[in-house]
């Protein structure tokens, strides 16, 4: 056992000495929490509104005032014709515009329909649509009040957000971020570490030593397991303190599932290292096979339901997808294993399959 502890000690020294990598590993999750928290939003505020009002009258002015008073919009220009609008959009000076048709108030008074164009910059479709909706909402509210005055029908929607009362995006991505961090540390670092030993030839020296293969793997991999665990705890802590992300369910269950996921990632890392011979190739493979899918196909940033079917199927192969489901369930909905046993089973199966493949590849190398 002392041989193993010697190996462990050496690994720890390695890690501690490489300050730059260590800094990145520790800072990465911390920074990511902040970044994701503040960047992944599509809430709309301070909307830059341009008004095209060729023939201002009482109604158009009344509506214009509504927009100013709404607190959501900021009028950046008032134009006479639509022609100048393109230039405003091209420089992103305006994000949405309203164009009144001439004779607005007249038409309303005569009982006809007065049209108003809501022109959105749909370069980013959701913001574009959201802004248009907000404009329409202001118009509708005005309409509603007028309708109330003249005895029309009003249906008043009262909305309530469930599971995420503050609508903070942090709740959404923290599970995915945990998966990503664990993937990086367990899969990527392990792969790099083992491949580096291969490259420098020291792996052969290890194999020749009295250490058994499983001891070598444990010795190389255990430090990263610990780092991974610590990282995840840091992420959870930070998410809690900065963004008040809840953990409504059982923390023990969450950590247990975390360990399960770590095993899957570790097996992946070992598998990759068994198949590659240089650090650069290992890095690339790891990025392609672990990090990219975790970021893109796990549903943690981009909603899976929005993707084309083939990609949704592909996502089922991504361990992170299942972990994100589990973590979200535990943290945000407070559900327990009864709801999550299927997803857990998937992870267990993945772990077994990958570990078998990894150990087989590893011993094949020994021959």
């Amino acid at each position: 056992m002392s041989a193993l502890s010697g190996l462990l000690r050496k690994e720890v020294y390695h890690i501690l000495r490489d300050r730059r990598t260590l800094t990145v590993l520790v800072l990465l999750p911390v920074v990511q929490v902040i970044l994701f928290g503040y960047s992944i939003r599509t809430d709309v505020s301070d909307v830059r509104l341009a008004i095209v009002d060729p023939a201002p009258d009482a109604t158009t002015l009344a509506l214009r005032d509504r927009f100013t008073a709404s607190g959501v919009f900021r009028i950046v220009a008032v134009l006479r014709s639509e022609r100048e609008l393109d230039a405003l959009f091209r420089t992103d000076t305006a994000q949405v515009a309203i164009e009144f048709e001439p004779g607005f108030a007249e038409r309303v008074a005569r009982g006809e329909t007065a049209r108003l164009l809501v022109i959105g910059d749909a370069t980013e479709p959701n913001s574009g649509t959201a802004r248009q909706s907000y404009v329409t909402a202001v118009v509708q509210q005005y309409e509603s009040e007028q309708a109330g005055h003249r005895g029309g029908i009003r249906i008043l929607p009262e909305a309530r957000a469930r599971f995420n009362p503050t609508r903070a995006s942090a709740n959404l991505f923290v599970p995915g971020l945990m998966a990503l961090v664990l993937m990086i540390i367990s899969a990527l670092m392990t792969a790099l570490s083992l491949t580096r030993e291969k490259e420098t030839g020291t792996l052969e020296a290890l194999l020749v030593s009295p250490l058994r293969p499983w001891q070598i793997i444990v010795g190389k991999v255990a430090p990263y397991l610990v780092i991974g665990f610590v990282s995840v705890l840091l992420v959870l802590l930070e998410a809690r303190l900065v963004f008040h992300v809840p953990i409504r369910g059982s923390v023990t269950l969450l950590l247990a599932e975390g360990v399960l996921f770590i095993l899957v990632a570790l097996a992946l890392g070992i598998l990759i290292s068994a198949r590659t011979s240089s650090q650069r190739v290992a890095m690339m493979t790891a990025m392609l096979a672990t990090m990219l899918p975790t970021q893109i196909l796990s549903g943690f940033v981009f909603p899976l339901e929005s993707m084309p079917m083939p990609l949704q199927w592909l996502a089922n192969l991504v361990p992170a997808k299942w972990f994100v489901l589990i973590a979200r369930g535990i943290m945000l909905k407070g559900v327990g294993i009864t709801y999550l046993w299927q997803e857990t089973l998937v992870l267990v199966v993945m772990a077994l399959v990958l570990m078998t493949a990894a150990s087989r590849s590893f011993s094949a190398r020994l021959q």
Partner: protein
């Protein structure tokens, strides 16, 4: 002696080293894969995956009224194309369950007195419970729902108008409402992306990310590898100057990145239909300026690390910050003010802005003058700093 004069010597030394660099790249399958294959795969997968498009949202209906009016509303919702009625019940419990399971994103609760309130007072509330787990989508979903509700209110009003005008008193001073009633109709127009195709937004962003990856990551890795292997010493001992060395190192990747951009753009246009409404020349000129910044950053990183692994990690870390805060996948306008201010320092943000303006809005030079100017400034800055830091000496 065969030197022809200082200026030609500069050109020759740079060319000679640059040619060797190109040979290195061409002969190294791993780097080639990194530069050619990876971007293509990423482009194809990412373009399809990175979308926030909202498809049919599942709705659970709790209709406590079960009147003609309430059913009319539910029908309206279902027929809109945005929503799919997942289930219905008289009580809230099944709705809760559905939300918990993730089967429903929206729960519409119509209270018991819905129809009666409408007939008597002309106004009635309905309740939406939105699964805010969906984040951004939740807001838009709610917005759609509200619009449908408002449209339905109008519909009801139209139906009742003829009867009501007979029943209601007309207050003096106000014009008598006519059969249809003066009504303001808001018509939505979506410019630049009428089909609301998310790919048109994402693909330029993905291209920026890919090109940055090549520019920064490969450069940093490249020089770090030379340091790690000791080959850099052999170059440091020759008469080559710092500027020549840097030019020779950066030039091949500058060209490669531009080629990759062209390739990616072609794929984006032909496969995903991303429009090219502006001048390609302007686009590539801007890309050229941006790449100097990206490469300069890679160079700078390489002066700070000793091994390839460190180069990869530091670059990846930095790139990730830049990419997330650069408005590539989520619009900068949605971020808090302080983040928006910080993003001015982010070259990726400016390049992405330029790309999108040129491609989707047909912007010209004066439309992109500001971001382009900022990029040019950064280019000069980073190059100066990186060259100063790089010394032809060990320790």
């Amino acid at each position: 002696m065969t030197l022809r004069g200082p200026s030609f010597a500069f050109l020759r030394r740079t060319t000679v080293l640059a040619r060797a660099e190109v040979l290195h790249v061409v002969r190294d399958r791993a780097t080639l894969a990194q530069i050619v294959m990876l971007p293509i795969i990423q482009l194809l997968v990412l373009s399809n995956a990175t979308t926030f498009t909202i498809r049919e949202t599942p709705v659970w209906v709790v209709d406590r009224d079960q009147s003609t009016e309430s059913r009319g509303l539910v029908d309206r919702l279902g027929a809109s194309g945005y929503f799919r009625i997942e289930g219905a019940s008289m009580s809230g419990e099944p709705a809760n369950e559905a939300m918990l399971r993730g089967d429903a994103t929206l729960v519409l609760t119509i209270p018991t007195d819905f129809a009666r309130d409408i007939t008597r007072t002309g106004s009635a509330p309905v309740h939406f419970d939105v699964n805010a787990e969906k984040g951004a989508a939740a807001g838009v979903v709610q917005s759609y729902a509200s619009q449908i509700v408002a449209a339905y209110a109008r519909e009801l009003e139209m139906e009742r108008r003829p009867r009501q005008s007979l029943v209601r008193d007309v207050p003096s001073g106000m014009q008598a409402p006519t059969t249809t009633g003066g009504h303001i109709e808001a018509v939505a127009r979506s410019w630049y992306n009428p089909a609301l195709n998310y790919k048109h937004f994402m693909v330029p962003g993905i291209l920026v990310a890919l090109v940055s990856m090549i520019g920064t990551l490969v450069t940093a890795q490249n020089i770090a590898r030379e340091k790690e292997m000791g080959t850099i010493e052999q170059l440091n001992v020759t008469p080559i100057t710092r500027a020549e060395f840097i030019a020779a190192k950066l030039l091949p990747f500058w060209v490669l990145a531009l080629l990759d951009l062209a390739l990616g753009l072609a794929v984006g246009h032909l496969v995903f239909g991303v429009p090219i409404r502006g001048s390609l020349l302007l686009l590539f000129a801007s890309a050229g300026v941006y790449l100097v910044v990206a490469l300069g950053i890679g160079l700078f990183i390489s002066t700070m690390v000793e091994t390839q692994q460190q180069a990869m990690f530091v670059t990846f870390f930095l790139l990730m910050i830049y990419l997330l805060m650069g408005g590539l996948f989520t619009p900068i306008d949605s971020m808090p003010r302080w983040v928006q201010l910080l993003s001015e320092l982010n070259p990726i943000r400016h390049f992405a802005t330029i790309m999108r303006r040129i491609l989707m809005k047909g912007a010209g030079l004066d439309d992109i003058a500001r971001p382009l100017g900022i990029l040019a400034l950064y280019a000069t800055l980073i190059l100066t700093v990186a060259i100063r830091r790089y010394r032809k000496q060990t320790a």
